[in-house]
């Protein structure tokens, strides 16, 4: 339900973000975002996945009124997303941003902080704090034009967090950042999420989404294929598969065993082999056969479905190859 702007802070929100049949069709008929229903409770770290052109950035831009929706409605923190006040406590780091090159890192934070309604000492304090969080205090007075891609991302994250917004949209926040920096930014995002900030996370890096997000949705061709927790989505894919994949670490194989395993289409490695099996009972048979030939077994591990497997599997199910 849409409410007035004055009481939203005091009210406990059911959803930090909610869409109902929310979609975008560009002039000329291109349906970039099919009518979408989405509900994200406050404090959730939500990851949106999808191949290039799936409509992820369009969804974020439409929620922030950068792109005008053509159908449906959406609320941000309980307010109609089309109203400027709905964005009062919202931060945003867009993908491929280009901050004004005449500004310094501090200037970027100040400019967007003021646009967000902050001023005076409160703003100064926020700038120092957020630049410190992303490790850019030292570069506060350096012009953006001298920044590397990674530094730009750090400042971008800082400006998105100025004023401690309740909802933050991050579109590829670690794009162009080195591995160490990526981990640092991830920690900053996780810390914000732990403080109760709702994070809407768009990323191609599935491992990152897996680590940070507690709920995800997969978008393809403007349609949500699935949504849920990371484990739910993995299970969804696992339950669809016809067998299990098992890694065996063992001692040297006898020629007889090796020949038998080849017949079962095993893939060999230096430490052992991997087999695709129908079910658990087949593992026992393999163990018995190995022990009969006195092959030492060091470990047996069933391979889990990771998010990347699940993502590719789900995208392929919808008939489109993933482009990560």
């Amino acid at each position: 339900m849409l409410r007035g702007i004055d009481d939203w802070e005091e009210t406990i929100l059911e959803f930090a973000l909610q869409t109902k049949g929310f979609g975008k069709t560009y002039r000329g008929g291109l349906e970039a975002l099919k009518p979408l229903d989405l509900e994200i409770p406050p404090g959730t770290c939500f990851g949106l996945l999808g191949p290039n052109g799936a409509g992820k950035s369009t969804l974020v831009k439409t929620l922030l009124s950068i792109v005008r929706p053509t159908v449906g409605s959406a609320t941000l923190l309980g307010l109609d997303s089309r109203r400027p006040h709905a964005r009062r406590s919202v931060g945003y780091l867009p993908e491929g941003h280009r901050f004004p090159r005449y500004l310094t890192g501090g200037g970027v934070c100040e400019y967007f902080g003021r646009l967000g309604g902050l001023s005076g000492s409160e703003l100064k304090q926020e700038i120092d704090e957020k630049l410190g969080l992303v490790g850019m205090s030292e570069w506060k007075t350096t012009k953006i034009s001298k920044y590397s891609k990674g530094m730009n991302q750090r400042v971008g994250l800082a400006q998105a967090m100025i004023g401690n917004p309740k909802l933050i949209f991050l579109d590829e926040p670690t794009d162009g950042v080195d591995p160490q920096g990526r981990r640092e930014l991830r920690d900053v995002i996780k810390a914000a999420a732990e403080r109760g900030t709702t994070i809407f996370f768009n990323s191609h890096l599935l491992s990152e989404v897996e680590v940070i997000c507690d709920r995800i949705a997969i978008l393809n061709k403007g349609v949500t294929i699935t949504s849920g927790t990371v484990d739910e989505i993995k299970r969804q894919v696992s339950s669809k598969s016809e067998g299990i994949s098992v890694d065996f670490r063992c001692g040297e194989l006898t020629p007889g065993v090796k020949a038998a395993l080849k017949d079962r289409a095993a893939t060999f490695s230096a430490s052992g082999f991997n087999l695709e099996l129908q079910d658990q009972s087949q593992i026992d048979g393999i163990v018995d056969a190995l022990r009969r030939d006195s092959v030492s077994i060091f470990s047996i591990k069933q391979q889990e479905t990771n998010l990347e497997d699940a993502f590719i599997s789900l995208i392929q199910d919808t008939g489109t190859g993933a482009q990560l």
């Binding site: 400027p84 867009p94 491929g96 004004p100 646009l115």
Partner: protein, 425 residues
């Protein structure tokens, strides 16, 4: 409000990076300071009266015996016909139609000369006025006056107050709708006669001294220069304001903030305009105080030119804002801005000038076209004329170009905002 001011302030930061805006500021300052530095006043003795019996040379000799004067200082105000070297064959019956004659003796004369004494000029004037040899059958009056000059000149520069008369007269004629062609001898003569009459009127009324008129003319020229230079450079500066704001990757975060697109658009527009206004206000203030201190004439009317100057910038900026929003291209906005201001505007102004001179009177369809242009298209030459003429004590304001330009500005802004509001970024 805070967010709105942030947009305005961002435009300032954006401008600080623009060499062209800095050049505009520097050039305005150079002109303002330069005009002040080269301006000065000169104390001269001016006389006025009827001299029926003496040539001016004889008068000059007599004066020189009473008070030392610079030889170059004696000047007569002569009618153009007096400047002729040869008799006019069309006026053979005219008794004054003599070659090279200066008909000073039988006419009312006015003139001035510079006293070399550098001392108490009032005493010298008192001596001149009481000298009986100068007064035999004549009615002369001497007085000390200040006249406008440049620092390197020996004498006052009459050109400026005569220019003032012409400018005032030109505006008056334009307002009346009379057609006096600059290509026609009779019209030229008529203009000259009227200028003389105007000068006499000011002498009699003593409403506007020559110094006042001269200084106002200098302001008129300076403001005209301010107008031209600031507009040309402002086009280059402001062409990038909107495309810069709307550049891919730059506009997203701005639009994601809790500020409506209306305030973003208006903030960017007013921000650019405010900078322009500050620049020209600064230059005019320097000119006002500088000239006031140098000449003792405080032309506060100089500031009345500013609203129209800023208005002209607002009109061209509205057009560039529209182009900027539509194309998001600085180069395109700049090209169209210059095409409009430099090429189209000059052609239209020339056509209107020719229309006013009456040379189109015999070509009805051409007259109709020019009349339509006058009412439909904004014209910055006419706006400039109105703006700079307003610094004169008796200004003439042509409201038609102001009205047309205002309509264009409103339309351009409305279209620009409509596009900005509806566009997906």
């Amino acid at each position: 409000m805070n967010a709105f001011l942030a947009i305005v302030a961002d435009t300032w930061r954006q401008s600080k990076q623009q060499v062209v805006f800095i050049i505009m500021l520097i050039m305005l300052m150079i002109v303002a300071i330069g005009v002040v530095v080269i301006s000065t006043t000169m104390e001269v003795v001016e006389f006025e009266g009827v001299n029926p019996s003496q040539t001016h040379e004889a008068l000059h000799d007599k004066i020189a015996k009473i008070a030392p004067v610079k030889d170059h200082g004696f000047q007569n105000r002569r009618l153009p016909m007096d400047l002729r070297d040869q008799p006019d064959p069309d006026k053979a019956d005219d008794p004054d139609n003599e070659p090279g004659e200066v008909p000073l003796i039988t006419r009312q004369v006015k003139g001035w000369f510079i006293l070399e004494s550098g001392g108490d000029n009032e005493k010298v004037v008192a001596a001149l006025n009481s000298e009986s040899s100068l007064r035999a059958g004549e009615n002369f009056e001497f007085r000390v006056v200040k006249r406008y000059a440049f620092i390197w000149t020996d004498g006052p520069i009459d050109f400026f107050h005569e220019y003032w008369n012409q400018a005032y007269l030109g505006a008056e004629i334009a307002a009346s709708g009379e057609k006096l062609s600059p290509f026609d001898g009779d019209s030229q003569q008529e203009m000259q006669n009227r200028a003389e009459a105007l000068d006499r009127r000011f002498q009699v009324e003593k409403s506007t001294s020559k110094l006042q008129r001269s200084v106002e003319s200098v302001f008129d020229w300076s403001m005209s220069f301010f107008y031209t230079i600031s507009m040309i450079l402002f086009i280059a500066a402001c062409a990038g304001y909107f495309p810069g704001l709307l550049a891919a990757g730059a506009v997203d975060v701005v639009l994601s903030k809790p500020i409506s697109r209306f305030y973003i658009f208006v903030g960017k527009y007013l921000g650019g305009l405010l900078l322009f206004a500050i620049a020209v206000l600064l230059a005019t203030t320097i000119l006002y105080f500088g000239m006031g201190m140098r000449t003792g004439i405080w032309v506060s009317r100089a500031f009345t030119a500013l609203p129209l100057l800023v208005f002209s910038a607002a009109v061209i900026f509205s057009l560039l804002a529209l182009i900027g929003v539509l194309t998001r291209s600085t180069a395109m906005a700049m090209i169209i801005g210059y095409l409009f201001y430099v090429v189209i505007d000059t052609v239209l102004a020339t056509a209107i000038g020719l229309y006013r001179s009456g040379v189109m009177d015999e070509v009805a369809w051409l007259k109709k076209i020019v009349e339509t242009i006058y009412y439909v298209f904004p014209n910055f030459v006419l706006l400039k004329n109105t703006a700079v003429t307003s610094v004169m004590t008796q200004p003439y304001v042509d409201w038609q170009p102001v009205g047309t330009a205002a309509a264009w500005m409103v339309l351009s802004l409305a279209l620009g905002f409509w596009r900005f509001r509806a566009k997906d970024y």
